[in-house]
């Protein structure tokens, strides 16, 4: 009887171990880029040829893009084939890769993990509609800007709370925002202003993804949500009966590509590639392709605190 029992126990243990090994031994199936060598013209341009000669280390390398794929138009998984990422930023990253001769793969992380992921060496760069701010740069990255920022304010259809911008019209409202987004301190800055005006302070509700924020507006939990105007327009197009845009706000930020602080060679190569991509009209072309009507080029400039 004892033999049976210990055999069975041993069998259970072996089985569990085998299952564990099998599970951990499975090959990792990270999502792959949608486009491969998608921009041959760019790659063949004199500027890019020269850049590859100047940066031979980048040629044939693979650069991991830390991204937060929750912004339709910029970066999301492809609903038809969720193993791919699609959007303006994905194409832009591929274009830079084509120009400099490297491949791109992806590491999707939470928004607040974008900078730490690059700073800790888990990924090489961030092309994820990330606004370049000094605070974020202090996290250990340098930014190369490429777009200006226009924010839209998403509200319920008819704008029942009469929101007119990041101003005292927000007093007493609940504002849904993505965790870690630059709009958070801007809205929070309204709290003392509302109080000074004798009004109720706005409440900030923080969510992990844009979809959660939109659901908060749809369910009436929040009155306003701020994100890139193109993204906001995308949501309104999906729910035209229920959603509206209150106002477009120009923010004093630029969208930037983040690279590890101190990696000047890579940073400068990306900057030079961006100059070529903008100069050739490709960035504007991509913006049109992804219906980013309000995409205003920003001259590639470096923001560094290191």
């Amino acid at each position: 009887m004892l033999t049976t029992k210990s055999t069975r126990t041993a069998g259970l243990a072996t089985g569990a171990l085998a299952a564990l090994l099998a599970l951990t031994a499975c090959s990792s199936s990270e999502p792959k880029a949608a486009a491969e060598a998608a921009f041959p013209e760019l790659a063949a341009s004199a500027a890019c040829v020269e850049l590859r000669e100047k940066n031979p280390d980048l040629v044939g390398a693979t650069k991991t893009n830390a991204l937060n794929p929750h912004t339709p138009g910029y970066e999301v998984v492809n609903p038809e084939n969720p193993d791919e990422f699609i959007g303006f930023d994905i194409d832009l990253g591929d274009a830079i890769g084509d120009c400099l001769g490297f491949d791109v793969d992806y590491l999707p992380v939470g928004f607040s993990e974008l900078v730490p992921t690059v700073a800790s060496g888990q990924a090489d760069w961030i092309v994820s509609n990330l606004y370049a701010t000094e605070e974020r740069a202090h996290g250990g990255v340098d930014f190369i800007s490429y777009s200006k920022v226009f924010d839209g304010i998403l509200v319920a259809a008819g704008n029942p709370k009469g929101v007119t911008g990041i101003d005292t019209s927000l007093c007493g409202t609940t504002v849904a925002l993505n965790k870690g987004y630059v709009e958070v301190p801007l809205v929070e800055a309204m709290i003392p202003e509302c109080e000074a005006a004798g009004l109720k302070a706005p409440t900030v509700s923080l969510f992990d993804s844009s979809a959660d924020c939109v659901q908060a507006i749809l369910s009436g939990r929040a009155d306003a949500y701020m994100n890139d105007i193109n993204t906001v327009k995308g949501y309104i197009a999906e729910h035209p009966q229920d959603l509206d845009s209150a106002e477009t706000v120009m923010l004093d930020y630029e969208i930037g590509i983040g690279v590890l602080q101190g990696e000047h060679e890579f940073r400068d190569a990306v900057q030079a590639a961006l100059v070529e991509i903008q100069g050739s009209g490709l960035q504007a072309e991509l913006a049109t392709k992804w219906s980013l009507d309000e995409n205003a080029l920003a001259e590639p400039a470096v923001l560094s605190v290191g």
């Binding site: 004892l2 929750h70 999707p108 939470g110 888990q122 979809a211």
Partner: protein, 529 residues
């Protein structure tokens, strides 16, 4: 609904399940292994290890898993440790789960009746063997429900690894929800997937519980079934068809009573060998309470001693000091010239050496609460220690067990578990177990005190049979004056932690010289009559 079904069968999400399973497996198995170490560190007598483990438990139980995940993923690389997202997630989960597994293990082990450990030690099991054969199998059975529930918790916690880029089910769900606007359909589909996975874990838990269930009918032999069917109720001991010839007469046997007086003179005068047990100035305290205050006692080979005395007089403690189940605070006790528990220079030995001393000295012990190993049948209770400690073959041990069970009238219950036996039956098996390795000394610690009155006789009968056979040295702590008169060569009366009077039963019980003895004899006599 079609959208829901579409997402329920979407390969992208199903692939996410694989990652969820891998995270769960790493968290569960890794957590269990680390948890074992943490539990062991907390149960050891090395204070430094205990404190390290406590600090770890406090740290990991006191911080959110989400922070621990970020720590392993984003902070460790700064120290040069770069793990892939999946491994980082698995490691963080394992580090976190270890704390909870450690507590499950600790409560499982602490929940095992201390009597089981005492019995194992008395039988000469080394600590590792005792843990593996006695404590762990019993603790494991009680831990399975908690372990199953922890597996489900691990699986649900694995969803948090989504923030560190492990492409598991939750991360894929969120990404898909961001891309498609089918928010609810996707979340419902994912919820169903998690439900199926956790339900599967629950089924595994139930299957393991069933596999480990000692009462599982499939594992019971035909013989056990037959014997169970033949018995009206398991809790009530059926009287043997014929009176047991070894049974001692007691006042339930009409007509016998005081006329059948059996003493050390019957059978004719016995001869005793050399001193086998020698105690000198034995002292033992529990905190402020001094239980033994200088015991001097010599027991010769073949002698049967009845140890009498009021509750709290130190009888049990004295017995437990003889084979070093309790350490001494002063004095010495020798069994066949060996001071069990102490080295040649008088230093206290570690338990695994003491175990060998107990085996070499040949000291068997019978406990007031029987302390049969709950997870073993009567036969295994007797046979297993022979294999584990004395290296007997399976066949020899089983044959010896059957022989002894027959001797104590328990052959018909050889396949029964202790919980299905009456107290008297358990104690008879306990005696058989103590006798199995042919000890030179048998210590019986109030062997009938925990029994219902009608079950006392069957156990006393067995002990009396042993006394009559002769040869075996016995010290019996008891309250049964009549029994003491009948079996004891010498009665030792203890009170207040010292031996106040000793001599033949006639002297000590029949004509006590000391007031404490007189009071005790009067009280016991009036209780017995």
């Amino acid at each position: 609904m079609t959208e829901f079904l579409h997402y329920l069968t979407l390969p992208y999400l199903l692939d996410g399940i694989l990652f969820t399973l891998r995270l769960t497996a790493m968290g569960f198995v890794g957590g269990m292994i680390l948890g074992l170490f943490l539990a062991a560190m907390q149960l050891t007598r090395f204070r430094a290890l205990t404190w390290v483990a406590r600090a770890y438990v406090t740290l990991y139980r006191g911080t959110p898993l989400i922070l621990q995940l970020v720590f392993v993923f984003s902070v460790l690389p700064r120290a040069g440790i770069v793990l892939s997202p999946l491994v980082a997630g698995g490691v963080a989960l394992a580090l976190n789960e270890a704390v909870f597994f450690a507590e499950i293990f600790r409560s499982g082990i602490k929940g095992v009746d201390p009597g089981q450990v005492a019995a194992g030690r008395a039988l000469g099991l080394r600590p590792a063997l005792l843990m593996r054969r006695v404590v762990a199998p019993q603790a494991l059975r009680s831990m399975v429900p908690s372990l199953g529930s922890e597996a489900v918790t691990t699986m649900k916690n694995s969803a948090l690894a989504s923030i560190i880029a492990v492409p598991e089910l939750t991360l894929r769900t969120q990404q898909l929800a961001s891309a498609t606007f089918d928010y609810f359909e996707i979340y419902f589909a994912t919820a169903v997937m998690y439900l199926v996975l956790t339900a599967a874990l629950t089924l595994i838990q139930l299957a393991v519980e069933r596999a480990l269930d000692l009462d599982r009918p499939a594992r019971a032999s035909l013989r056990t079934w037959a014997s169970r069917l033949g018995r009206p109720a398991t809790g009530v001991p059926a009287a043997p068809a014929e009176p047991d010839p070894r049974r001692v007469p007691d006042r339930t046997d009409s007509g016998l009573g005081s006329v059948a007086r059996l003493t050390q003179a019957d059978p004719p005068p016995r001869s005793f060998g050399q001193a086998l047990i020698e105690a000198y100035g034995l002292r033992k305290s529990y905190g402020e309470n001094e239980v033994l205050r200088g015991i001097d006692l010599q027991v010769r080979e073949g002698e049967v001693i009845a140890l009498l005395g009021p509750s709290g007089s130190g009888k049990s403690t004295l017995l437990r000091c003889i084979n070093h189940l309790e350490g001494l605070d002063g004095g010495a006790v020798l069994v066949g010239g060996t001071s069990i528990g102490y080295g040649d220079r008088g230093g206290e030995l570690v338990e695994r050496h003491v175990a060998k001393q107990r085996v070499d000295a040949g000291v068997g012990m019978v406990f007031q609460q029987f302390n049969l190993f709950h997870h073993l049948t009567a036969r295994e209770n007797v046979a297993a220690p022979l294999r584990w400690v004395h290296g007997w073959s399976r066949e020899d041990a089983a044959a010896r067990a059957d022989e002894l069970l027959a001797q104590v009238g328990m052959a018909h219950r050889a396949d029964a578990l202790p919980r299905h036996m009456s107290g008297g039956q358990q104690q008879r098996v306990g005696i058989a177990r103590a006798l199995a390795s042919n000890p030179r000394v048998l210590l019986l610690d109030e062997p009938t005190s925990a029994l219902d009155p009608e079950l006392v006789a069957e156990v006393l009968g067995v002990i009396q049979g042993l006394a009559r056979q002769g040869g075996l040295t016995m010290i019996i702590a008891t309250h049964q004056l009549r029994f003491a008169r009948e079996v004891a060569d010498r009665v030792v009366f203890m009170a207040g932690g010292v031996v106040v009077e000793q001599g033949t039963a006639e002297q000590v019980i029949g004509d006590p010289q000391v007031e404490a003895t007189r009071r005790f004899v009067r009280a016991m006599d009036s209780a017995e009559v």
